[in-house]
Amino acid sequence: MTRTPPRTTPTPPHETLTRRTLLRWGAAGGAGLGLAPLAACAGPTGAPGPGTLTLGLNRSLVSLDNKLNQFDAAVTVQRAVRQALTAIGPGMKPTPVLADRFEMTAPTTWSVRLREGIRYSDGRPVTVEDVATAVRMYGEVAGSFVLGLFPELPSVEATGARTFLLHTRQPVPVLDRLMANILITPAKDNRPEELRSGVGTGPYRVVGANSGAGEYTLARVPRYWGGRPAVERVRVRFVPEESSRVVALRSGELDVIDTITPDSAEQLTGLPGVHLEQTSGVRLCQLFYNFRKPRDHPLADARVRRALTYAIDGESLVRDVLTGSAEQAAGVVPLSLQGAERTGSFVHDPARARQSLKSLGADGLRIRIMWESGEFAADTSVMEAVAEMLKDVGVRTSLLQFEPGGDILKWRQGKGGDWDVIGNGFPGPTGQAVTMLQAMYAGTAEDERTGDAFMGYVDPAIARRISDAATEADPAARDRELAAAQHAVWDTWPCLWAFVPKTLLARRTRVEGIGLLPVNSYDLTAVRLEG
């Protein structure tokens, strides 16, 4: 009997097209087809058209009105739709816009004449009644940013179809500058609130708006009274992440990005197709103390507030974190403002800080610092650095960061919760020190009842001095009084630290004619697109 040798299993020849191979090929082909559209993600998307200018803002523009909300870059867009009687132009000088005459005829009276032939984008003419209603509405809105700039709102007395008088109880010598913040809207449409819709006299009208997302599309007004703007359409987008804005500018998706950090400027410097613009700024960024503390709280004592300032190495912050794009404040307002006074400087001396805090019984202090993302460039880095500097002198800190759209306004008004220091940027929209001082340090007990005194700062003596200066018609006397008021404010040590950032903006080279002003805005009618 012979044993049958085991048979080897025949293996299929490699060249045979098996069912498995066929399935694999099919799957690979299907995946290739399915993933092919993803290749489109590699290229720039949403690039603006040849006649469209796209602006990428770092803060959400919730409205094109400015009763409650007027951060620097918003001014550019708000003024493109709604205009005021005047505007702050180059050299921080007031220039007439809707008014062709704006003269002080008496210490408390200004004579104004509306420009002839100006109309809103829907064709309605601008009337004196519109101006009177606008002034009244700004006075009635609660929590207004603009209202704080005025020592008092003027009353309007019509004297003709196009002429009227502005009366104040006390002289307001900078009224022509202040009126640059009152945007004119048809009286019928104006309300004591931030307007979400409506028309203006500006060179553009709104054709698409998503205020929740901070996105707007503006189209050129065909018969704009001031001449035809060069750019046909303007798209406004809210892009909170700085890195996203930088990438979008590099890819051509955005044409202009504002308020960029020096680190982003470093990334953009020398790139083909990108140009940087820089100018000195009039915004004051400060780490402001909470002045709503009870009397027995350490921060209610100016000596403790001063001792804490010794912990902050401002030079290092400016040199290393802000990489030279800012200057330490040497006064209570930016020195570039007219009427600003050099009142002192921040000194870094940690040993003195520790010693002073100990002698004042404030060692082991705990403070809470809060701010909103995007309040100023490199805000997070500055706050973390400050927290570490305070830790070095034995002060424990907690950081509370609000994202845009959060309820920091309530906290600022003392209605949200307790805090000790706030990171805040304050603009100088008129180029005058007196306006900024008025808004920050001239709060009264009455203002504070509604939480409208700036961070609870109420000092009747200082408020009186500022008000006196604001109503002084003689410029030399006004400057003397203002200087005294600024020294008095400095002696109360209102800030842990403050700095004045330069204004940085990046644009594609196809965008020409941006005349960036120190107030971090520019006139959209002067902008051109090439290519």
Partner: protein, 301 residues
């Protein structure tokens, strides 16, 4: 006289080589590779994170503003420094403690909720099953990240809130699996025997059924750990993580993205660490699951 003859060797077409190439053997080998690779990757991240306090590292919060954004392997900084001159490796390891603590706590809580709810639904059925099933279906229908962001916005970002939020977000996965396992187990004879012996429903469930479904359910919990770490990182990246100064992986990446073209390491290295941990945990979970499948427990447990 009897002669015992050895049985002739049975001829077979299956050789050792064929056995080694069989899918069962391939799966076993694959499970082993996954297990070891997963354990290695996980340990590579988790061990230094756990021992961060003992390693000779700089303080994660100590700044040196004059030494900002130093590249890796410069001046004793293995991973370089960040935008405030802090040691990136130290921040990653200490930040990992926050991220991993949130992840582990979240999966433990979600595991407990999921196993309790799923086993009750599977064993008792009826209205309990209806309530649990509808709840988990409703939750699965919601977009997860949006829901998490909403809850964090309502209650404020803190380690406790984020842990609870992730835990609550993940319980349906565990509950669903546990329910199906319990549905199978409750029909087995040992359960009937336990009932006949007079044990009450909860006792049968707790003492006999749950121990038998715990192993496969805990594997799912392990897989959820990777997802929990990713969720925590995503929340931190979006600004809804624990408040500063807690360094978390998501926040380190978020802060570093502003420097992506000038300081690549600020984003790339934390990203690699997260990827390594997530891949490691997933491989480990996969490997353990495959082992459980191939090594079935003896019948009549």
């Amino acid at each position: 006289m009897t002669t015992t003859l050895a049985p002739p060797e049975r001829p077979s077409a299956v050789s050792e080589r064929h056995l080694a190439r069989s899918s069962a053997a391939r799966q076993r080998r694959g499970a082993r590779v996954k297990l070891w690779a997963g354990a290695f990757c996980t340990a590579l991240v988790a061990l230094p994170v756990a021992l961060a306090g003992l390693l000779p590292l700089a303080d994660p919060n100590t700044q040196d503003l004059s030494r900002r954004r130093l590249p890796p392997l410069t001046d004793g900084h293995l991973f370089g420094t960040d935008q405030l001159g802090r040691d990136l490796l130290s921040r990653l390891l200490h930040g990992g403690q926050v991220s991993l603590t949130v992840g582990v706590l979240a999966v433990v809580v979600s595991g407990l909720i999921g196993i309790a709810a799923g086993s009750a639904a599977g064993y008792f059925g009826g209205w309990i099953d209806t309530v649990v099933s509808r709840l988990l279906e409703a939750q699965l229908a919601l977009p997860l990240l949006m829901m998490l962001l909403l809850v964090v916005a309502l209650f404020g970002p803190s380690v406790t809130v984020i842990t609870c939020v992730i835990a609550v977000a993940q319980w349906p996965e565990v509950a669903r699996l546990t329910r199906s396992l319990v549905l199978v187990e409750r029909e087995k004879p040992y359960v009937a025997a336990a009932r006949l012996l007079g044990l009450r429903g909860w006792s049968v469930l707790a003492r006999h059924i749950v121990p038998n479904v715990l192993r496969p359910a805990s594997l799912v919990v392990l897989l959820l750990l990777a997802q929990a770490v990713l969720l925590e990182s995503a929340l931190s990246f979006l600004g809804a993580g624990p408040q500063r100064p807690f360094a978390t992986w998501g926040r380190i990446i978020s802060d570093g993205q502003d420097y992506i073209t000038t300081s690549w390491w600020l984003v790339t290295l934390p990203g690699l660490v997260i990827a390594l941990l997530v891949v490691g945990v997933n491989l480990l979970g996969d490997g353990l699951r495959d082992r459980v499948r191939t090594h079935k427990p003896a019948k009549g447990v």
